[in-house]
Amino acid sequence: MINIYLPYRLGQQIEHHDPIAVSATTIKTALQQLLRQYPQLDSSIWVDARTQQLTGYTQLFVNQQQVTDLDAQLQAGDQLHLVQAMAGG
Protein backbone atom coordinates (compact mmCIF):
# COMPACT_ATOMS: atom_id res chain seq x y z
CA MET A 1 0.00 0.00 0.00
CA ILE A 2 0.98 3.63 -0.58
CA ASN A 3 0.25 6.22 2.10
CA ILE A 4 -0.92 9.58 0.76
CA TYR A 5 -0.47 12.64 2.99
CA LEU A 6 -2.78 15.50 2.04
CA PRO A 7 -2.49 19.23 2.78
CA TYR A 8 -4.39 20.31 5.88
CA ARG A 9 -6.91 22.20 3.73
CA LEU A 10 -7.78 19.12 1.65
CA GLY A 11 -8.00 17.04 4.84
CA GLN A 12 -10.55 19.58 6.07
CA GLN A 13 -12.59 19.18 2.88
CA ILE A 14 -12.88 15.42 3.29
CA GLU A 15 -12.93 15.50 7.12
CA HIS A 16 -9.99 13.11 7.26
CA HIS A 17 -6.48 14.18 8.25
CA ASP A 18 -4.67 10.84 8.59
CA PRO A 19 -2.75 9.36 5.65
CA ILE A 20 -4.90 7.62 3.05
CA ALA A 21 -3.77 4.15 2.00
CA VAL A 22 -4.16 3.23 -1.66
CA SER A 23 -2.95 0.36 -3.81
CA ALA A 24 -1.01 1.74 -6.80
CA THR A 25 2.19 1.29 -8.79
CA THR A 26 2.64 4.85 -10.11
CA ILE A 27 1.97 8.34 -8.79
CA LYS A 28 -0.78 8.84 -11.35
CA THR A 29 -2.62 5.67 -10.37
CA ALA A 30 -2.21 6.56 -6.67
CA LEU A 31 -3.86 9.94 -7.32
CA GLN A 32 -6.59 8.26 -9.38
CA GLN A 33 -7.29 5.90 -6.45
CA LEU A 34 -7.41 8.86 -4.07
CA LEU A 35 -9.85 10.74 -6.29
CA ARG A 36 -12.05 7.68 -6.72
CA GLN A 37 -12.50 7.73 -2.93
CA TYR A 38 -12.74 11.53 -2.68
CA PRO A 39 -13.93 12.97 -6.01
CA GLN A 40 -14.55 16.34 -4.33
CA LEU A 41 -10.74 16.89 -4.34
CA ASP A 42 -10.58 16.64 -8.12
CA SER A 43 -10.35 20.36 -8.90
CA SER A 44 -7.69 20.92 -6.22
CA ILE A 45 -5.39 18.33 -7.81
CA TRP A 46 -6.04 18.37 -11.57
CA VAL A 47 -6.26 21.47 -13.74
CA ASP A 48 -8.50 19.33 -15.92
CA ALA A 49 -9.62 15.85 -14.88
CA ARG A 50 -9.53 14.58 -18.47
CA THR A 51 -5.93 15.59 -19.21
CA GLN A 52 -4.81 14.85 -15.63
CA GLN A 53 -2.42 17.77 -15.49
CA LEU A 54 -1.45 18.73 -11.94
CA THR A 55 -2.48 22.19 -10.66
CA GLY A 56 0.38 24.70 -10.67
CA TYR A 57 0.18 25.05 -6.88
CA THR A 58 0.74 21.37 -6.06
CA GLN A 59 4.08 19.64 -5.44
CA LEU A 60 4.50 15.90 -5.00
CA PHE A 61 7.10 14.15 -2.86
CA VAL A 62 7.82 10.43 -2.68
CA ASN A 63 9.67 9.54 0.51
CA GLN A 64 10.51 13.27 0.90
CA GLN A 65 12.03 13.64 -2.60
CA GLN A 66 10.33 15.94 -5.10
CA VAL A 67 8.87 14.10 -8.09
CA THR A 68 7.46 15.78 -11.18
CA ASP A 69 6.90 12.72 -13.39
CA LEU A 70 3.43 11.36 -12.67
CA ASP A 71 4.42 8.04 -14.26
CA ALA A 72 7.18 7.51 -11.67
CA GLN A 73 6.98 4.05 -10.13
CA LEU A 74 5.94 3.53 -6.51
CA GLN A 75 6.85 0.66 -4.20
CA ALA A 76 4.69 -0.75 -1.42
CA GLY A 77 5.28 1.30 1.73
CA ASP A 78 6.15 4.53 -0.12
CA GLN A 79 4.94 7.82 1.33
CA LEU A 80 3.41 10.28 -1.13
CA HIS A 81 3.10 13.85 0.15
CA LEU A 82 1.04 16.52 -1.57
CA VAL A 83 2.18 19.99 -0.54
CA GLN A 84 0.22 22.91 -1.95
CA ALA A 85 1.21 26.57 -2.11
CA MET A 86 0.30 28.63 0.95
CA ALA A 87 0.70 32.32 1.67
CA GLY A 88 -0.64 32.66 5.20
CA GLY A 89 1.34 34.88 7.48
Binding site: H17, Q59, A87, G89
Partner: protein, 254 residues
Protein backbone atom coordinates in the same frame (compact mmCIF):
# COMPACT_ATOMS: atom_id res chain seq x y z
CA UNK B 1 27.73 50.09 9.11
CA UNK B 2 30.63 48.80 11.21
CA UNK B 3 29.77 50.15 14.69
CA UNK B 4 31.25 47.82 17.27
CA UNK B 5 29.22 46.19 20.02
CA UNK B 6 28.72 48.29 23.14
CA UNK B 7 29.22 46.95 26.67
CA UNK B 8 25.46 47.11 27.16
CA UNK B 9 24.79 45.12 23.99
CA UNK B 10 27.32 42.48 24.98
CA UNK B 11 25.63 42.18 28.40
CA UNK B 12 22.25 41.68 26.71
CA UNK B 13 23.56 39.15 24.20
CA UNK B 14 26.07 37.28 26.34
CA UNK B 15 24.13 34.00 26.45
CA UNK B 16 24.12 33.65 22.67
CA UNK B 17 27.71 34.90 22.34
CA UNK B 18 28.45 31.83 24.50
CA UNK B 19 27.38 29.64 21.57
CA UNK B 20 30.53 28.65 19.67
CA UNK B 21 28.66 29.07 16.35
CA UNK B 22 28.05 32.74 17.18
CA UNK B 23 30.73 34.14 19.50
CA UNK B 24 31.74 37.81 19.39
CA UNK B 25 32.60 37.67 15.69
CA UNK B 26 29.20 36.26 14.75
CA UNK B 27 27.46 38.79 16.97
CA UNK B 28 29.32 41.57 15.17
CA UNK B 29 28.13 40.12 11.81
CA UNK B 30 24.55 40.23 13.09
CA UNK B 31 25.01 43.86 14.14
CA UNK B 32 26.40 44.73 10.71
CA UNK B 33 23.50 43.06 8.88
CA UNK B 34 20.42 44.55 7.23
CA UNK B 35 17.33 42.33 6.97
CA UNK B 36 14.19 43.37 5.05
CA UNK B 37 10.87 41.88 6.19
CA UNK B 38 7.83 42.13 3.98
CA UNK B 39 4.67 42.03 6.09
CA UNK B 40 5.34 41.95 9.77
CA UNK B 41 2.27 39.99 10.90
CA UNK B 42 2.02 36.51 12.44
CA UNK B 43 5.00 35.12 10.52
CA UNK B 44 7.02 38.27 9.72
CA UNK B 45 6.42 39.83 13.15
CA UNK B 46 7.76 36.70 14.84
CA UNK B 47 10.89 36.93 12.67
CA UNK B 48 11.28 40.66 13.42
CA UNK B 49 10.91 40.19 17.19
CA UNK B 50 13.40 37.30 17.23
CA UNK B 51 15.95 39.20 15.11
CA UNK B 52 15.60 42.31 17.30
CA UNK B 53 16.33 40.16 20.34
CA UNK B 54 19.24 38.50 18.55
CA UNK B 55 20.91 41.86 17.95
CA UNK B 56 20.42 42.47 14.22
CA UNK B 57 21.78 45.92 13.32
CA UNK B 58 19.16 47.12 10.86
CA UNK B 59 15.62 46.00 10.03
CA UNK B 60 13.67 47.25 7.03
CA UNK B 61 9.98 46.64 7.73
CA UNK B 62 7.37 46.84 4.98
CA UNK B 63 3.68 46.73 5.92
CA UNK B 64 0.63 48.82 4.98
CA UNK B 65 -2.64 49.46 6.82
CA UNK B 66 -3.64 49.77 10.46
CA UNK B 67 -3.82 47.27 13.34
CA UNK B 68 -7.17 45.47 13.20
CA UNK B 69 -8.68 43.41 16.05
CA UNK B 70 -8.59 40.20 13.97
CA UNK B 71 -4.75 40.34 13.80
CA UNK B 72 -4.25 40.29 17.56
CA UNK B 73 -4.46 36.48 17.95
CA UNK B 74 -1.09 36.14 16.20
CA UNK B 75 0.82 39.40 15.87
CA UNK B 76 3.72 39.44 18.31
CA UNK B 77 4.37 43.14 17.70
CA UNK B 78 0.88 44.50 18.46
CA UNK B 79 -1.39 44.54 21.51
CA UNK B 80 -5.07 45.38 22.09
CA UNK B 81 -4.03 48.95 22.93
CA UNK B 82 -2.56 49.35 19.42
CA UNK B 83 -5.83 48.85 17.53
CA UNK B 84 -6.44 51.30 14.68
CA UNK B 85 -2.86 52.58 14.84
CA UNK B 86 -0.55 52.62 11.80
CA UNK B 87 1.08 49.17 11.62
CA UNK B 88 4.71 50.13 11.10
CA UNK B 89 4.54 52.76 13.89
CA UNK B 90 3.28 50.08 16.27
CA UNK B 91 5.90 47.56 15.16
CA UNK B 92 8.64 50.19 15.51
CA UNK B 93 7.50 51.02 19.05
CA UNK B 94 7.57 47.38 20.20
CA UNK B 95 10.81 46.57 18.35
CA UNK B 96 12.56 49.53 20.04
CA UNK B 97 11.38 48.23 23.42
CA UNK B 98 13.07 44.91 22.63
CA UNK B 99 16.22 46.41 21.10
CA UNK B 100 16.76 50.16 21.52
CA UNK B 101 19.98 50.25 19.49
CA UNK B 102 18.64 48.54 16.34
CA UNK B 103 18.14 50.79 13.31
CA UNK B 104 14.62 50.52 11.83
CA UNK B 105 13.57 51.71 8.39
CA UNK B 106 9.78 51.59 7.93
CA UNK B 107 7.71 51.60 4.75
CA UNK B 108 3.99 51.97 5.35
CA UNK B 109 2.92 50.08 2.25
CA UNK B 110 2.58 46.53 0.97
CA UNK B 111 5.08 45.41 -1.60
CA UNK B 112 4.42 45.57 -5.35
CA UNK B 113 6.42 44.50 -8.42
CA UNK B 114 7.41 48.14 -9.03
CA UNK B 115 8.44 48.91 -5.45
CA UNK B 116 10.05 45.59 -4.45
CA UNK B 117 13.42 46.26 -6.15
CA UNK B 118 13.61 49.69 -4.44
CA UNK B 119 12.50 48.70 -0.93
CA UNK B 120 14.60 45.51 -0.81
CA UNK B 121 17.75 46.81 -2.54
CA UNK B 122 19.94 47.30 0.53
CA UNK B 123 19.00 44.06 2.32
CA UNK B 124 21.57 41.35 3.05
CA UNK B 125 18.71 38.90 3.57
CA UNK B 126 15.03 39.24 2.64
CA UNK B 127 12.22 37.67 4.69
CA UNK B 128 8.82 36.98 3.15
CA UNK B 129 5.75 36.61 5.38
CA UNK B 130 3.22 38.19 3.02
CA UNK B 131 -0.40 36.93 2.99
CA UNK B 132 -0.93 37.43 -0.76
CA UNK B 133 0.72 35.51 -3.61
CA UNK B 134 0.97 38.70 -5.70
CA UNK B 135 3.30 40.15 -3.04
CA UNK B 136 5.21 36.89 -2.68
CA UNK B 137 5.86 36.62 -6.42
CA UNK B 138 7.03 40.27 -6.49
CA UNK B 139 9.46 39.66 -3.60
CA UNK B 140 10.70 36.43 -5.21
CA UNK B 141 11.41 38.15 -8.55
CA UNK B 142 13.28 41.01 -6.83
CA UNK B 143 15.35 38.62 -4.68
CA UNK B 144 16.36 36.58 -7.76
CA UNK B 145 17.16 39.72 -9.79
CA UNK B 146 19.34 41.28 -7.07
CA UNK B 147 20.83 37.92 -5.96
CA UNK B 148 19.81 38.38 -2.32
CA UNK B 149 18.98 35.30 -0.23
CA UNK B 150 15.26 35.05 0.51
CA UNK B 151 13.86 33.18 3.51
CA UNK B 152 10.29 32.32 2.64
CA UNK B 153 7.73 30.92 5.09
CA UNK B 154 3.98 30.46 4.84
CA UNK B 155 1.10 28.70 6.55
CA UNK B 156 -2.54 27.71 6.22
CA UNK B 157 -4.47 26.45 9.25
CA UNK B 158 -2.21 24.03 11.14
CA UNK B 159 0.17 23.50 8.23
CA UNK B 160 3.21 25.49 7.13
CA UNK B 161 6.58 25.44 5.41
CA UNK B 162 9.88 27.30 5.18
CA UNK B 163 12.54 27.33 2.49
CA UNK B 164 15.55 29.46 1.56
CA UNK B 165 15.79 30.75 -1.99
CA UNK B 166 19.19 31.67 -3.47
CA UNK B 167 19.44 32.59 -7.17
CA UNK B 168 21.27 29.90 -9.11
CA UNK B 169 21.49 27.51 -6.16
CA UNK B 170 17.93 26.66 -5.26
CA UNK B 171 14.46 26.64 -6.75
CA UNK B 172 12.61 29.94 -6.46
CA UNK B 173 8.97 30.37 -5.48
CA UNK B 174 7.89 30.29 -9.13
CA UNK B 175 9.86 27.04 -9.70
CA UNK B 176 7.96 25.39 -6.87
CA UNK B 177 4.57 26.98 -7.43
CA UNK B 178 4.15 28.62 -10.84
CA UNK B 179 0.49 29.39 -10.11
CA UNK B 180 -1.30 30.52 -6.96
CA UNK B 181 -4.35 28.57 -5.77
CA UNK B 182 -7.61 29.99 -7.17
CA UNK B 183 -9.21 30.27 -3.75
CA UNK B 184 -6.49 32.61 -2.42
CA UNK B 185 -8.32 35.82 -3.32
CA UNK B 186 -7.47 38.05 -0.34
CA UNK B 187 -5.51 38.17 2.93
CA UNK B 188 -8.40 36.74 4.98
CA UNK B 189 -8.73 33.31 3.33
CA UNK B 190 -6.55 31.45 5.80
CA UNK B 191 -7.73 30.35 9.27
CA UNK B 192 -4.95 30.72 11.83
CA UNK B 193 -4.04 30.06 15.46
CA UNK B 194 -1.04 32.15 16.58
CA UNK B 195 1.18 29.22 17.52
CA UNK B 196 1.47 28.04 13.88
CA UNK B 197 2.82 31.28 12.33
CA UNK B 198 4.88 31.63 15.53
CA UNK B 199 6.61 28.34 14.79
CA UNK B 200 7.15 29.20 11.14
CA UNK B 201 8.52 32.64 12.05
CA UNK B 202 10.86 31.26 14.74
CA UNK B 203 12.33 28.79 12.27
CA UNK B 204 12.78 31.57 9.71
CA UNK B 205 14.61 33.74 12.26
CA UNK B 206 17.02 30.86 12.91
CA UNK B 207 17.57 30.50 9.19
CA UNK B 208 18.30 34.24 8.78
CA UNK B 209 20.84 34.12 11.61
CA UNK B 210 22.54 31.04 10.09
CA UNK B 211 22.70 32.74 6.68
CA UNK B 212 24.26 35.92 8.11
CA UNK B 213 26.75 34.28 10.47
CA UNK B 214 27.38 31.25 8.25
CA UNK B 215 26.95 28.12 10.33
CA UNK B 216 24.98 24.88 10.27
CA UNK B 217 22.81 23.40 7.55
CA UNK B 218 20.50 25.69 5.59
CA UNK B 219 17.08 25.11 4.08
CA UNK B 220 18.53 25.49 0.59
CA UNK B 221 17.03 23.00 -1.87
CA UNK B 222 14.88 21.85 1.03
CA UNK B 223 11.35 22.63 2.12
CA UNK B 224 10.80 22.23 5.85
CA UNK B 225 7.17 21.23 6.15
CA UNK B 226 4.96 20.67 9.17
CA UNK B 227 1.38 19.73 9.99
CA UNK B 228 0.71 20.61 13.64
CA UNK B 229 -2.58 18.70 13.66
CA UNK B 230 -0.94 15.34 12.96
CA UNK B 231 2.70 16.25 13.83
CA UNK B 232 3.72 15.01 10.41
CA UNK B 233 7.06 16.82 9.93
CA UNK B 234 9.16 16.63 6.78
CA UNK B 235 12.40 17.89 5.31
CA UNK B 236 11.53 17.68 1.63
CA UNK B 237 14.09 18.02 -1.18
CA UNK B 238 13.15 20.51 -3.90
CA UNK B 239 14.64 21.13 -7.36
CA UNK B 240 14.90 24.05 -9.78
CA UNK B 241 12.46 24.09 -12.66
CA UNK B 242 14.36 24.47 -15.96
CA UNK B 243 11.33 26.20 -17.47
CA UNK B 244 10.83 28.66 -14.60
CA UNK B 245 9.71 32.07 -15.90
CA UNK B 246 11.67 33.84 -13.15
CA UNK B 247 14.98 32.03 -12.65
CA UNK B 248 15.57 29.63 -15.57
CA UNK B 249 18.16 31.98 -17.12
CA UNK B 250 20.18 32.28 -13.89
CA UNK B 251 23.35 30.20 -14.18
CA UNK B 252 23.60 27.23 -11.82
CA UNK B 253 25.95 27.79 -8.88
CA UNK B 254 27.20 24.44 -7.57
Amino acid sequence: MTASLSTLEIARLTRQIDLPEIGLAGQQQLKNATVAISRVGGVGGTVAAALARAGIGHLIIVHGGKVDAQYLNRWQLATAADQDQVTVDVFGKHLRQINPTMQITSYHENISPARAPILLASADVIVDGAPLFEERYAINAAAIAQRTPLVSGAMYGHEGYVTTIIAGQTPCLACLYPHKPDYWVDHQVFPVLGACPGMIGSLMAMEVIKLIVGFGQLLTRRLWHMNLLTYDMNLLTVERNRHCTVCATVEEIP
